[in-house]
Symmetry: C2
DNA sequence: ACGTTTAGTCGAAACGCTTCGATAAAGATT
DNA sequence: AATCTTTATCGAAGCGTTTCGACTAAACGT
């Protein structure tokens, strides 16, 4: 493997001149630049990333702190990873994956102190997040996909849950639904201060209040069975419900089954939709699920781009962005035509 | 950030001695070792990964060549990534993601020549694979998750498709099915020499032959609509079919719908199963899908572990491993009770 | 008692780059 | 003509490690 010294020799210049030519750090005459690049081509020279990083104290490597949510990893997380990797590459950076098993923030500190990465993108942030606190404490550069409670001076991108919930409810209201259930993440996640769960919770209450609708909220773990139970509970307590918004699409199969068991049809007798779920999951269901699609690719991309801007000093003040989800109407939602006579329906 | 020189000074030894103590490269007396580690602790010293890599010519970083299959990324790929990352970390390596956009093998060459990574794990390998050919040509260390046609001297882990297909068919046969459809990946993927598609294709033919069953094969793109069409085509041409094995679970919702449109029930009138699909996807369906679950976590883990063994010279000859999928019976398969009288059934 | 290992340590030379200060030549400014 | 800039280049000193060869003193074999 040729080194910069080989190139310098062949182009008849000093090593430093080659470096300047490559990085554009200092002016180089057109003529010598040509000679240098010619020499590089002929030798098939590639700058050594480690040496470069060591000398410049900038590795051009960033880490994605890849934590699994309590409900497990899904397509959404996958898309963060791929879009983050693509964005990193386009900006001339490498992306390393720091896996979730890093529950101990001390381990995160050790990793950052290895000098391997210039900054980290944190995902699955909790309202009070150990990793974030750690990074802040040691003033290590980072951005978040998601956000914690105190976001002073931290750049982040997140889903605009407030708007998303509002639009979802509005959509159902326009279809004529007035009794709407909201199936949140699990109680455990809510109690742990998981941002999406907390924000969506408050927001849903607000929205039904201002829109003068009847809303019922329930927590639910991310399994079909939990969905089945939740749905039956909800309908026992509130038989007038005609629509449900779920935070987690993994509950939906159970709900669909519960609906079928009542002899109801979707969407004629009941409307179902999920917020922040991927098209991928929505299309796996019969009927395909109406969703608020999250802008996953943008989130991943922006997470790393904000970080890189910060690293390259193009951004002094933190940028904070909230991205809306996009309503995609599929076949699980519509005006409700169920005859709301009584509970007999359940027994037919 | 303290350096090794600071540690050496504080422990009253030479820099090289500290290095030997850390790496165990040469014997160090118990007494000085203690002093050195004490000094490291007091200073909070962390070896610099870049300097280490530069000096030792081993970065302890490996890359996962993260290519998207034509059908798009799914949970399976996600699990490769996470398990690979975990395995790397446990072995003291970092994992960088080299994204799929690297279609040009030249770009792969450039990346490898940067000296950043010691080796790469390639996934989504085609029978004749450009990336693999490239790596081989420049003798860059790598392993595969999946396998190409000529696997001489290459370490890999792959799913044992032959066995998987056989077990799937056997399972259906035991339920009494004798007319079985096989829904492969798309024609395009097959033509491109995508290993799983090719191997499964031949194997299915063999198996039905030896078991004296009637088997029909069809290619199908990875969408519900394509599944719907494929199913209808198949049943028009072969009304006696009572079961179907799909290579791709993304076709299943369409198939389920087509079945429902005939007024049939699953599994009473028709049995459905998918090979190499994640539990995650299977449980999103109603009824939950019987599958042959792939050992994704093991594949990811072994992919990196084989690579690391190779890098550390613990393996001179290539290890090649085929892992079986595990049959998970859910609710989409069972003995067929449909009255196979005629096509009237369609019109009921 | 005398070469020969062996354990433990040191100093210096890499590793392949970036960056700083210096320098010479050319251009601009008085 | 003398001085100040600017442009283009060079050489050398890092960056923080590993690794090689050398050295000392103790242990060993005969």
């Amino acid at each position: 493997m040729p080194t910069i010294a080989d190139v310098a020799k062949r182009a008849n210049v000093a090593v430093s001149t080659v470096s300047y030519a490559i990085n554009g750090t200092r002016p180089i005459s057109e003529e010598t630049r040509q000679r240098i690049f010619a020499a590089m081509d002929e030798l098939g020279y590639r700058p050594n990333a480690l040496a470069r990083g060591l000398a410049s104290k900038r590795s051009r490597i960033i880490a994605l702190l890849f934590a699994a949510p309590e409900r497990g990893l899904g397509i959404t997380e996958l898309e963060f990873v791929t879009s983050a990797a693509d964005a990193a590459k386009e900006n001339g950076y490498h992306l390393v994956l720091w896996s979730s098993e890093m529950n101990d923030p001390e381990e995160l500190r050790r990793f950052t102190q290895q000098g391997l990465v210039d900054g980290v993108v944190v995902m699955e942030v909790h309202l009070d997040d150990n990793h974030v606190n750690m990074l802040r404490e040691i003033s290590f550069p980072f951005t978040m996909i998601g956000r914690c409670a105190d976001t002073d001076d931290i750049s982040y991108v997140d889903i605009h849950f407030e708007q998303t919930i509002k639009e979802a409810v509005q959509y159902l209201a326009e279809l004529g639904h007035t009794n709407i259930a909201f199936l949140n993440h699990s109680q455990a996640e809510f109690d742990a201060g998981y941002g999406p769960a907390v924000r969506a919770h408050t927001r849903f209450a607000q929205v039904v209040e201002t829109m003068e609708l009847t809303g019922v909220t329930r927590f639910c773990r991310a399994t079909p069975l939990a969905g089945w139970e939740a749905f039956n509970d909800l309908l026992t307590a509130h038989p007038d419900l005609t629509a449900l918004v779920a935070m987690n699409d993994r509950t939906i199969p159970g709900i669909m089954q519960a609906i079928a068991e009542r002899g109801w049809r979707i969407p004629d007798d009941f409307s179902l939709m999920s917020v922040v779920s991927s098209a991928r999951a929505a299309e796996m269901m019969v009927p395909p699920l109406t969703t608020m699609d999250p802008p996953t690719a943008e989130l991943g991309r922006l997470g790393v781009e904000l970080l890189i801007q910060q690293l390259e000093g193009q951004a002094q003040n933190a940028s904070q962005m909230l991205l809306p989800c996009r309503l995609v109407v599929r076949d699980s939602s519509g005006p409700c035509r169920r005859i709301q006579s009584s509970k007999q329906v359940e027994d037919q």
